[in-house]
């Protein structure tokens, strides 16, 4: 490849734009959404790009209708996405639960803004981390991805679509308000080399088809409406055919599958970045935009000779328990900077609970660095906190 060719792939791009382009490159051909700051650009770009490629875009009457429409379209065979922010994400929770329960692939992008309620529509926040895990009622595990750069927004949008198709579930892509609106120079990967996953289609005759066939890997083929496989889909507890059931044995099988299909594939799902962690004595655990500040803080601390490292989850749910235990084993202090009141902090404490009893041993601490006033955590905030804690 010539130098010119490489350079022509460098583009100046916004986070929201990267998400839309990544999703479309991953094959998304149906988008239903409702305008909300700071995610609206994703809908706008999809409304421009999808008709050009024969895809469909529709602006629905609200967020509830948007999640409903993408689940309907997904059952008809579409690769689907919607994008929203806090208030709309709250409205979508019942639909997200429906997608998980009925094992229907779809992607929901939540560009986080300050909350609760209408909150700070144009300011950053990381306070939806727990809602992405526990937002829908009932037990259902979540797959949530969280990038820290524009390029990674593009990559994780592709990954979100791939995982939703592979695991037949709703995948949430979390984005920071700042990242959604920030422009960065991005070198897009060669699309021919990007791995695109499509849902497995049944090959057996329609009369043998079970919409929820159980198998050891908990991943099963998915037929689409209008292709001869006439199946039933319900949000009620259901048997292997998808018909409603009250039987404890059939419900148990269904609930176990929802759980196991995530837990059996942690190696595939969990992604982390370890940054100067190999010899680190002090660690930072941060995600999204706070991890960018943390990276600079690590470099600053390293310059002054301190052994500081950063562990950053790209997949925040399922939570990277094993990675934390592995990397943090020999660390003295863990700093957790985040734009909320401790949503990651408590998870880190939970994950570390069995490894070292941090409360009884003075020398080891998990230290919060928190802001929820719409301002970002700066590298200086982290450095200053490190100086405070000896």
């Amino acid at each position: 490849m010539t130098k010119n060719n490489i350079e022509s792939k460098v583009v100046l791009m916004q986070g929201n734009e990267a998400v839309a382009r990544g999703a479309i490159d991953a094959g998304v051909n149906f988008f239903a959404g409702y305008p909300i700051t700071p995610s609206t650009e994703i809908a706008e770009i999809c409304s421009v790009e999808l008709p050009k490629r024969g895809g469909k875009f529709i602006q629905m009457e609200d967020e509830i209708a948007s999640i409903s429409a993408i689940i309907g379209a997904s059952l008809a065979g579409a690769k689907t996405m919607t994008a929203t922010s806090g208030p709309g994400f709250s409205l979508m929770q019942e639909g997200i639960g429906f997608a998980k329960m009925t094992e229907t692939p779809c992607v929901v992008v939540n560009v986080m803004r300050g909350g609760p309620s209408t909150g700070l529509p144009t300011k950053p926040s990381q306070a939806d981390i727990m809602q992405t895990r526990w937002g829908n009622h009932g037990d259902a595990p979540a797959i949530v991805l969280y990038p820290d750069s524009v390029l990674e927004s593009y990559e994780l949008a592709i990954r979100a679509v791939n995982l939703s198709e592979k695991y037949r579930t709703c995948v949430v892509l979390l984005l920071d308000e700042v990242l959604g609106h920030m422009r960065e120079a991005v070198t897009l990967p060669d699309l021919a080399k990007v791995k695109i996953i499509n849902r497995i289609k049944p090959t057996i005759p329609p009369e043998w088809y079970k919409h929820y066939e159980d198998n050891p890997k908990y991943i099963h083929p998915l037929a689409s409406y209008g292709e001869g496989y006439r199946f039933h889909v319900t949000g009620l507890a259901h048997d292997a055919y998808g018909f409603p059931t009250n039987r404890a044995d059939e419900t148990a099988v269904m609930m176990e599958r929802l759980d196991k299909k995530i837990k059996h594939h942690l190696n595939d799902l969990v992604q982390i970045e370890s940054f100067y962690m190999d010899d680190a004595r002090t660690a930072i655990f941060a995600a999204g935009i706070s991890a960018r500040a943390a990276k600079t803080a690590v470099l600053m601390a390293r310059k002054s000779g301190k052994k500081v490292g950063l562990l950053r989850p790209l997949t925040i749910w399922p939570f990277p328990d094993d990675a934390i235990r592995k990397y943090m084993k020999n660390v003295r202090n863990i700093f957790v900077p985040e734009l909320n009141q401790g949503q990651l902090l408590n998870e880190v404490k939970r994950a570390m609970g069995g490894v070292w009893n941090y409360e009884s041993r003075r020398s080891r601490k998990i230290i919060p660095i928190q802001k929820n006033d719409g301002q970002l955590i700066t590298p200086a905030d982290i450095i200053n906190k490190m100086k405070e804690v000896k």
Partner: protein, 278 residues
């Protein structure tokens, strides 16, 4: 009107080996409506694999599980939004929604009016039994003022929705109303609605003798059927009736049948324009 034996309907369109007996109470009109839908589809010779039935939550919304189509039993009030997704992605499919008065006009009112406004080619078959039956008899937007429900123990003070007027006001292009007593008329209206290109609504007044009937002393299923026979007035007769005699009567007939650009057609044109202009 071609008559087909019930048995053929059972074996051709119902999941008769898997899902029966059904959940509906004795005397419920939902079975009559289901029969009318099956016969209408048989007349149209629609392919089962190309037909989708979508519902929300409620008594009527249990219907999809019994029919051998592409079926979706979605969330309370959201059936029309789910159906919009299916129709939008696969316009070649026949998509119908079976819903009730509470599902479509209370919790799902927003989706109902906006689908009508878009004139997307969905057929909504709305079974109006004046009550929330599945949850045991609470008042709905169509429970007549003064009537008793478990949440209006002292009488309902809410004014009611005229669902057909609501749909027409929102822009629906085919609107018809009949009752479960007029089963063959229901079949004919449903057939015309399914054939109609655009948003169509068939409201079918139904009997809920076990809950609504009992709470309001309407008698058994037969008495409620007789009341429908007596009170549902055809359009022609309605116009001749003096105003003082219209009280308590139900207007039945095709209230609107017009052609307006259909949403998925318009989107296809838009796609063509965008791609052609490249």
């Amino acid at each position: 009107m071609q008559k087909i034996p019930q048995k053929i309907i059972h074996t051709r369109y119902l999941r008769h080996r898997k899902k029966f007996p059904h959940v509906w109470c004795p005397g419920c009109s939902n079975g009559i409506v289901l029969g009318a839908i099956m016969r209408a589809i048989d007349e149209l010779k629609w392919k089962r694999s190309n037909t989708a039935m979508v519902s929300g939550i409620g008594c009527s919304s249990r219907m999809p599980v019994y029919v051998d189509f592409n079926t979706l039993h979605s969330l309370h009030g959201r059936a029309i939004a789910y159906a919009t997704g299916i129709k939008m992605f696969k316009p070649e499919m026949n998509v119908m929604v079976v819903t009730g008065d509470g599902d479509a006009t209370a919790i799902g009112g927003n989706h109902f009016i906006h689908a009508a406004r878009r004139n997307i080619d969905l057929t909504v078959i709305l079974i109006n039994n004046y009550i929330y039956g599945m949850t045991g008899g609470q008042y709905s937007p169509t429970t007549p003022t003064g009537d008793i429900a478990t949440t209006t123990p002292y009488g309902n003070i809410d004014p009611v929705f005229d669902i057909c007027e609501l749909a027409m006001g929102a822009g629906a292009t085919f609107v018809a109303r009949t009752t479960a007593y007029h089963a063959l008329e229901a079949q004919s209206f449903i057939k015309q609605a399914l054939e109609h290109k655009g948003f169509s609504l068939v409201e079918i007044i139904s009997a809920c003798p076990v809950i609504y009937g009992k709470l309001n002393k309407k008698g058994d299923a037969i008495a409620m059927m007789n009341a429908m026979k007596k009170n549902a007035v055809s359009l022609k007769a309605w116009e001749k009736l003096p105003e003082d005699k219209l009280k308590g009567k139900i207007k039945r007939g095709i209230l609107r049948n017009e052609i307006r650009p259909e949403y998925t057609d318009e989107y296809a044109k838009l796609v063509q324009k965008v791609q052609g202009g490249k």
